[in-house]
Symmetry: C2
Subunit: 370 residues, 2 copies
């Protein structure tokens, strides 16, 4: 019994430490460390000797020891709501793919937690005080988002996917939500559509609120009544909402064009359209934001749909790289607009609208408070 116990202990070979390596090479711990970390006060011959031996013995620095002494974790925190207020949806997955990709390149980890939204702030506080992470990713901001206030106040590095009214004070990655839908509205109106349905996302979040704003501003600038576009907002990015809201929208038979907030809903809506005998690109005009979700091949709808296309995965990559450089040397906020492009369906004519309006402005458009 005791024997087997001991046996098992000896079997579980101890991980090789820097001390083992030092003994093996008959060098000091200091030299090993400095060689492996690329300092220039170690001879080239010794360095390669150390590197080879480290590889051979399978030495990996204990990350917790490193973190303890350097006070840097090389981890990025990402706190999810565990209740229903914010929903883990397919778009999130796409962003995550990009984040993981770029974080990995620079040997950063993503540490995730779910947390009820009423105790979220506490979670951020905890994570920063117990040295768990170097910085945070903030997803799906709402107007007046308390997380942003907190992190700003405590001077913790973070980057927001999206913008709020304090967008001047922190780093973010975003698309020009207002601008995209402003231009989309212009495009539809220029092509004669006067009864448009807009199936928006959850307007408690700034991204959706900005889209509504873009539509409204377009109508204002065109001198058209607000009723030109009827807006249907949904809390759920997919599932049956695409069908249900399409049905609801088309209850108004004057509708000639539908704008979707997500290609997922646009595709779901197809079921309802065909039930009603409508065919996209023929007797109903369909436009949608296309986030390039990589398991959906929207190319099948090219020509039939009009797309405003921007890669969410790319946004994820930018979020990660922004946050990492922020963690390495905190500087002034880094703000990035992810580019987008229009792919106009066959039933619309781009030349009917002023080219200046459709051109994405190169400068960063301001966030417009709701």
């Amino acid at each position: 019994m005791d024997q087997t116990g001991r046996l098992r202990l000896s079997e579980a070979r101890r991980r090789v430490t820097i001390r083992d390596l030092a003994r093996d090479l008959d060098l000091s711990i200091t030299t090993i460390s400095r060689a492996l970390n690329g300092h220039d006060d170690v001879g080239e011959a010794t360095r390669t000797r150390i590197k080879e031996r480290a590889e051979a013995l399978g030495y990996r620095p204990n990350r917790n020891a490193q973190r303890l002494v350097t006070q840097r974790t090389h981890s990025l925190g990402w706190i999810q709501s565990s209740d229903d207020e914010k929903i883990l949806d397919p778009h999130f997955v796409e962003v995550m793919g990009g984040v993981l990709h770029t974080a990995r390149e620079k040997h950063y980890d993503i540490v995730m937690t779910g947390e009820a939204s009423e105790s979220q702030i506490l979670a951020y506080d905890r994570y920063v005080r117990d040295n768990s992470v170097d910085g945070f990713i903030i997803d799906l901001p709402m107007p007046g988002d308390a997380r942003i206030d907190f992190l700003l106040e405590h001077n913790v590095p973070f980057v927001v996917h999206g913008r709020t009214e304090r967008h001047g004070e922190y780093s973010w990655v975003d698309i020009d939500n207002a601008g995209i839908f402003y231009r989309l509205t212009h495009l539809l109106v220029a092509n004669g559509h006067r009864h448009i349905a807009f199936i928006n996302g959850d307007e408690r979040f700034t991204f959706a609120a900005q889209r509504r704003l873009g539509v409204r501003h377009a109508l204002r600038d065109l001198g058209l009544p607000r009723e030109t576009v009827t807006i249907h907002a949904s809390r759920h990015p997919m599932g049956l909402t695409g069908q249900n809201l399409t049905k609801q929208a088309l209850a108004d038979t004057r509708i000639t064009a539908i704008v979707y907030s997500s290609v997922l809903m646009a595709i779901e809506g197809q079921a309802t359209l065909s039930e009603l005998g409508r065919v996209a690109g023929q007797n109903i005009c369909v436009a949608t934001m296309d986030d390039q979700l990589h398991y959906i091949d929207a190319s099948q709808y090219e020509g039939k749909f009009t797309f405003a296309r921007s890669s969410l995965r790319e946004a994820g990559k930018l979020i990660a790289s922004t946050l990492m450089s922020l963690c390495e040397r905190p500087e002034t906020p880094i703000r990035t607009l992810v580019p987008y492009h229009f792919f106009v369906g066959n039933d619309l004519d781009l030349s009917k609208v002023d080219a200046d309006i459709m051109k994405p402005s190169t400068q960063i458009p301001p966030y417009e408070p709701v």
Copy 2:
């Protein structure tokens, strides 16, 4: 310049350590530590005094110091493929929700990385050797999965969401994929369907392969030819596959029933069905696995569809709790079957099939090698 620099440094108040707390309370570091960790060799009076003061000063143990000395990280690793072989899809998100929820309850973190699949094993190796995590979650296993071989060989705690041919040797959480589709097939056949289309998931993964097996075994036991069910496999869990494969399946006009592997595809397929003038529950029978994705309210289709319902989020919770208890005291493998229930549509009669067949077996059904 130097002044402001100093100012800023002093502004960034140092985090409070256990030593600060000890000095403040005029107690030893040891006592603080033992009081906070619930050891019984500290007086109740002192303990509450310590706890209160710790709370007041906002003391949080440095997790990296803890991890260094205890050799336990309280982190679970979850490594994603960053290439396209495995796809981050909405089902993944659902599992993740459950995992995050339960991990959080026990103060565990999830650390994620993306890694190209050809170097995956190296990533696992790295994470365990540099003390990053205590154990791993393995997702979407394939037959002969190399990750499982590796972790088994190196004696690292892990739990698999799904099963492979080595299911006897490790911990897993799974549903009875084969059994569910075995029973579903029986149900359809008993109700007179002789031309059934099965739209399966990606059959490189064991979950989908087991489903196909369930169908095949049902046909064998029923003495029906294999052609009774035509199987269409898809690499993508959603997007346009639901529509495309439905179209492909119904090219055979004799088809009277469609079985979907995911409610997402079933819903997408509705577009195609209505195009073809088919109505679920009336002139076409629709059955589907329902993973209870929480942003999809499938109840709308109750009565019209037949569901085999099992909660993926529940699976996620079980995965987390299994892995955590495995990390705390490695013991014999823990195997868990997530329950499921049938919800039969109005166009099917449950009583036509032998009750014994439809009853989920209480014992764990063996994994059947492909």
